[in-house]
């Protein structure tokens, strides 16, 4: 490893630790005053859970985005390009609708709806994108967009059918937010899934490097592209689904994190897999820190709004920088 890369790793880890400590210490009183103190043991759980959730979700989205950018040969690919969030949204909406019509709530109804919707969308994308040579990246993007549009139409129909109050809670889910209460066991299991996914992509790093060549070239140097693409699709989808289960559709982290990591670590995918996880976690914990500081008089903003807003501006700057305009 080059000294420059060692320096980058140290800085990234230091920044992640600093943002995590900040997340635990930033305190806003009921009167709206900001302070920077270590919380009482009675309250620390309400900060530890969102902090760990941000690390898990940010890491999952970062690695998933990196995998999908290689799979789809598209630098603009993100975990939501395959219709996963729209499918999950439709699933959540359907579960709310069922709960409302039956008058009883099911335990984990939203989670089950999100997972079921995401799986249906992904299976549809997988089946419709399969050609003779395995998954075709261009078809996959087009099918993903179409599946998103169809799910979007379904969401609108259901929104039209449900009462106003339910529309509000669904809109909140769509904004994406980190939970303040969640069992550590569940968080640990999902964190384990993300760690395994990250290590798998790091293990496949040399194959991902070779898959950046054209199909013929990648095959000629020895990559079995149909197998690699299926594995990438599976792992990237599972990681994105973990993000949706915990926090709903958090935008832009999956798009920005791999680009940030690539900027710092070049294109060695073994390092990029771990780098994308750390940059993703850093972005989401940082955005969660930032939202503690913003008070618009209506409570704290959902973190998804910040990732979309800040992420969009950062991405535009990266794009313009690439074109030499800034």
């Amino acid at each position: 490893m080059k000294p420059r890369h060692i320096f980058v790793w140290i800085v990234l880890l230091a920044l992640l630790i600093a943002t995590c400590i900040a997340r635990l210490m930033i305190t806003r009183s009921t009167l709206g005053e900001l302070s920077f103190v270590w919380p009482d043991s009675a309250y620390i759980g309400y900060r530890l859970v969102p902090m760990f959730a941000a690390i898990v979700v940010g890491g999952a989205l970062g690695v998933s985005g990196m995998g999908l950018q290689v799979l789809l040969r598209n630098p603009l690919a993100s975990p939501w390009i395959l219709g996963l969030s729209s499918g999950a949204g439709l699933g959540v909406m359907a579960s709310m609708m069922i709960e409302h019509s039956r008058g009883v709530g099911f335990p984990e109804g939203e989670t089950i709806g999100a997972v079921a919707g995401a799986i249906v969308a992904l299976v549809a994308v997988y089946l419709l994108s399969r050609g003779r040579g395995g998954l075709d990246p261009v078809t996959m993007v087009l099918v993903g967009v179409v599946v998103s549009v169809i799910c979007g139409a379904g969401i609108m129909v259901l929104q039209h059918l449900v009462p106003m109050g339910l529309r509000g809670s669904f809109t909140t889910w769509l904004m994406g937010s980190l939970p303040e209460t969640m069992s550590y066991v569940r968080l640990g299991i999902l964190g384990g899934v993300v760690s395994v996914g990250t290590l798998l992509l790091a293990w496949w790093g040399p194959s991902l490097d070779a898959a950046c060549l054209s199909d013929d070239e990648a095959t000629s140097v020895g990559v079995h592209l149909p197998s690699l693409r299926f594995r990438l699709f599976l792992v990237s989808s599972i990681l994105a689904a973990v993000g949706v289960i915990i926090a709903g559709p958090i935008a832009f982290v999956g798009l920005i994190a791999p680009h940030g990591a690539r900027l710092l670590l070049r294109s060695n995918h073994r390092m990029l897999a771990v780098g994308s996880a750390i940059v993703g976690a850093l972005l989401l914990v940082g955005a969660d820190d930032a939202r503690q500081l913003i008070d618009l008089g209506t409570g704290r903003l959902p973190v998804g709004i910040l990732t979309s807003g800040i992420g969009g501006v950062v991405f535009l700057l990266l794009l313009l920088r690439g074109r030499g305009k800034v």
Partner: protein, 248 residues
């Protein structure tokens, strides 16, 4: 080592790219594939390299079908140079050449040697997207050189199309060296003069059919090539007494 192409046909929908091609070639030779645009040269090379499944017929390399091999195993027998390379991501030229060792294990010495052969050792840290077309083409050739196993198959699709005169000569010498080490070198080449200088054997295609095949000195004549390409050609002799094919 022997390559045998038997009754090979490739169709893309209604378009016939190759029609009933039968030919063979031995290791240690350079085979140049010539023909007008859209005559099926690239399709033939992709079939030979095991990258394209033919509609009918087969390609056998030492009596075995390359298509049936796992890409890793095939990579140890066949090295491929495309007409133009595509590289996503932010790779240096050295990393692109290193990818030639993906299936065979890292070998910094082979990578350095390949980069030096194509005059890129001192510019190996250039980012791919910032390199010129000629540098990219030389990098693709270096990747194949780092990958090739002597006695194997080296397939090149117009490997000199972006090169200057000096590097065309460098590549010609490299291909001769590979053939002298037992490789079967098969290259599609548009430059007829270069093909005449380089080839031991020539395959000439037109409209997907193999219209001429054999020893290059016998096959590549003004009359035969002129008819295939639809132009008038003639031999001209320079001061040193060497013959060149020219358009009068």
């Amino acid at each position: 080592m022997r390559l045998h192409i038997s009754s090979l046909s490739v169709r893309y929908g209604k378009l016939t790219a190759l029609r009933d091609i039968t030919a063979s070639a031995e290791g240690g030779k350079i085979v140049c594939v010539l023909g007008p645009n859209a005559s099926g040269k690239s399709t033939l090379l992709r079939c030979v390299a095991g990258l394209q499944t033919p509609t009918r017929g087969k390609v056998l390399f030492d009596s075995a079908s390359l298509l049936r091999l796992h890409p890793r195993e095939r990579a140890s027998k066949v090295a491929w140079v495309p007409r133009s390379s595509e590289v996503g991501g932010r790779f240096t030229l050295r990393r692109v050449v290193e990818l030639g060792r993906y299936a065979l294990g890292p070998s910094p010495a082979r990578v350095d040697e390949a980069l030096a052969t194509v005059d890129l050792l001192d510019r190996a840290d250039t980012i791919w997207h910032e390199a010129s077309a000629g540098m990219k083409q030389r990098t693709s050739i270096a990747r194949a050189l780092a990958q090739r196993t002597p006695g194997g198959l080296l397939v090149l699709d117009e490997p000199t199309s972006a090169l200057d005169l000096r590097h065309i000569r460098v590549v010609a010498e490299v291909l001769r060296k590979c053939a002298s080490e037992g490789d079967l070198v098969i290259a599609a080449i548009h430059d007829v003069a270069l093909a005449i200088n380089l080839a031991d054997t020539a395959f000439v295609l037109r409209h997907g059919e193999l219209v001429l095949a054999g020893q290059s000195s016998a096959v590549l004549s003004p009359g035969s090539l002129g008819e295939v390409f639809g132009v008038d050609l003639a031999w001209a002799t320079d001061d040193a007494g060497k013959r060149h094919l020219v358009t009068p």
